[in-house]
């Protein structure tokens, strides 16, 4: 008995008993389940996209229902995308583009003020800039519509159902993203860069243009991209502020699904997915590069 227990033998040598490696027990169960879990997450995140793209490639006929996986691959439905979709896409794109630019124009100074100033009610101001994210979009939509009616009744100018009306609504939800991301970058911004520029003879405006803005640009890109995406994908606000014949792409799809569903919806959705993917990759390239540069200063 004593001879067979490794503990007794090693102890008698006066050395520490070594824990014995048991092959088989070291089967990487933890590793397998970890990777399994990760894979499941990816499948969960990607499967809706795969279904949309796959189903859009199914040939079918006017009378077939959506089919996944596709039986015969074809770009047929891409030729059947109705003009209304293209018009809606154009509107959504211009809207999202304008909304993100305006969100940056409003958001950057706001972020500067919120991060740099020492006003006592700073907390209140930053809550105001976060508020649009905390109000359900549907409520925002209703509120904007009511506001437009009220404004129209007072002035005779009704902006609901116009580009400007949609733009304001989208700007409202876009600003917080720019304030958030630019604010985060500004928190880490080394103000000595600005002092260096001033000491070298650059005025306040030149300093902002040549030093501050380029350095916080990754935050601007990220915030602008969020604002773009939020605007581009918005239904609840747009549905209230659109007018017949003047609708954004998601709202057009929404109506299309309700009234006359055919796989051309999937085809145009696939185009949007590809577009978003391209935009994302582009941003990653730009922001990634900027990040590399802004880590600068040696050390």
């Amino acid at each position: 008995m004593t001879a067979s227990t490794p503990l007794a033998t090693t102890a008698s040598n006066g050395t520490r008993p070594q824990p014995q490696r048991q092959p088989g027990f070291h089967f990487p169960l933890a590793k397998v389940s970890f990777y399994g879990f990760c894979s499941l997450s990816y499948i969960f995140l990607l499967s809706p996209l795969v279904v949309v793209v796959g189903a859009s490639l199914h040939r079918g006929s006017r009378y077939t229902v959506v089919k996944f996986p596709p039986e015969e691959l074809s770009l047929y439905w891409y030729t059947q995308i109705p003009d209304a979709h293209w018009e809606a896409l154009t509107l959504s794109f211009s809207l999202a583009f304008m909304a993100s630019i305006l969100a940056c124009i409003v958001g950057i100074p706001a972020a500067l003020g919120l991060v740099r100033s020492n006003i006592p009610v700073k907390g209140l101001f930053s809550s105001i800039f976060r508020a649009p994210l905390q109000i359900p979009s549907i409520v925002t939509g209703v509120a904007f519509l009511q506001m437009y009616y009220l404004f129209g009744d007072l002035t005779g100018i009704y902006v609901n159902g116009t580009f400007a009306g949609l733009l304001l609504g989208h700007l409202f939800v876009g600003i917080p993203y720019v304030v958030g991301t630019v604010g985060a970058v500004l928190q880490r911004f080394d103000t000595r860069l600005e002092e260096a520029a001033l000491s070298l003879g650059a005025g306040r405006i030149t300093t902002f243009r040549r030093v501050t803005l380029p350095v916080i640009m990754p935050g601007v890109y990220a915030g602008g991209l969020y604002a773009f995406m939020v605007s581009f994908g918005d239904v609840p606000i747009s549905i209230f502020l659109s007018a017949p014949g003047f609708v954004t792409f998601p709202v057009e799809l929404f109506y299309g699904m309700e009234n006359d569903f055919n796989p051309s919806v999937l085809a145009s959705s696939t185009l949007v997915i590809l577009f978003s993917l391209g935009l994302l990759l582009l941003m990653q390239r730009i922001v990634g590069l900027e990040n590399l540069l802004r880590s600068g200063g040696g050390s």
Binding site: A196, S295, G297
Partner: protein, 354 residues
């Protein structure tokens, strides 16, 4: 290049006094170091000269111009920061050329000047690199080149070597001093490192709690510190608690740990309260008997530390702190626990008050 002059400058931050009335004149071409612990007001002084902050009271002159309320971009200064503050999104050439461009220099002129400056800092050929691609020492030299590119009236440096390791710091001290001498540029340098201050400066201003404690060159301050603070901050020093007990010709007689010693007469000689006898460790000896005119205090060796080129012997003489003596290792024959006499020539001691 210009003289810099601060007249009765005071700076308060709310109720906090960062700088109590300061008078300071920096000569043309002088390398002046503001030395002191953090919170002593040295950085505040530098930022006042730079124009990043305005004084609560007083006047600041650059040359003959009153610049007290002139914004930094109109002061024609060059500034070097601890963490370099190079513009990360610009190449080295664009960084160095930043101030030149602001002054409307042409492309050709800029390229030539950048080349000259890179030669000056011994870093040719890095024009097209980005700051992130440089080492700390290189980045700091580029920062200096950027600051002096358009011949500013004064060069201001705020702990520029603080982020570098020891070896590099020493090499950079020599480098910075060389550049300053070549350009003959008026320089105000801020540091808390006394070694740095002594290695580079024409004149050192020791500051504490928003006040100038002492101004002078390195030797002056080391040999004749005016206060306990200065003596302690520059180099290491022993303090023995003492009372003034009398007067003997050119010497003041003080009693410390039960022994009478002689020290040179000074302002503190008439003090009636507790004073300190200050002696540098390298000016103390271990002696067998008191010779003529030598101060002798008996004690016990409590520790010895071998430091390579010297041995530090700690002797307990009955004061709160042991007295430290630095000797060549070959001259130390006493062991821990031995009774010894420490001795020093009266002119090597000093009587100081707080």
């Amino acid at each position: 290049m210009s003289r810099v002059n601060l007249e009765r400058v005071v700076k308060h931050y709310g109720s906090v006094v960062a700088l109590q009335e300061m008078d300071l004149e920096i000569q043309e071409g002088e390398f002046l170091t503001l030395l002191g612990p953090s919170g002593c007001g040295k950085t505040t002084t530098l930022r006042l000269v730079a124009g990043f902050i305005e004084p609560t009271q007083g006047t600041i002159y650059l040359g003959n111009d009153d610049v007290t309320y002139v914004p930094p971009q109109k002061r024609e200064i060059g500034m070097v920061f601890q963490d370099y503050a190079l513009f990360p999104h610009m190449t080295i050439a664009d960084n160095i050329g930043f101030g030149l461009k602001e002054r409307g220099a042409g492309k050709e002129e800029m390229r030539n000047r950048v080349g000259e400056l890179l030669d000056l800092i011994h870093l040719p050929g890095v024009e097209d690199r980005y700051p992130a691609e440089l080492s700390g020492g290189q980045a700091q030299r580029v920062a200096v080149a950027r600051a002096v590119a358009y011949a500013p009236r004064v060069l201001l440096m705020d702990e520029p070597l603080g982020a570098l390791d020891l070896k590099l710091r020493e090499a950079m001290q020599i480098e910075l001093r060389r550049i300053q001498q070549e350009l003959k540029i008026t320089t105000v340098y801020v540091t808390h490192d006394q070694g740095e201050a002594m290695n580079m400066s024409d004149r050192i201003v020791v500051m504490n709690l928003g006040l100038i404690e002492q101004t002078g060159n390195a030797e002056d301050i080391y040999n004749n510190p005016r206060t306990k603070f200065v003596a302690d901050f520059i180099g290491s020093i022993n303090f023995l608690p003492a009372m003034i007990v009398g007067d003997e010709g050119e010497w003041t007689v003080a009693e410390t740990v039960g022994t009478k010693v002689k020290v040179p007469k000074s302002d503190a000689s008439s003090s009636s309260g507790e004073v300190a006898i200050a002696v540098r460790p390298e000016r103390l000896e271990l002696i067998a008997n008191g010779g003529d005119g030598i101060n002798v205090v008996p004690g016990t060796v409590s520790n010895k530390i071998f430091n390579g080129n010297l041995m530090r012997v700690f002797v307990d003489v009955g004061a709160d702190e042991p007295v430290v003596i630095e000797l060549p290792p070959a001259e130390v024959h006493s062991e821990t626990g031995d009774s010894v006499n420490i001795g020093w020539a009266p002119q090597n001691g000093q009587v100081l008050t707080e």
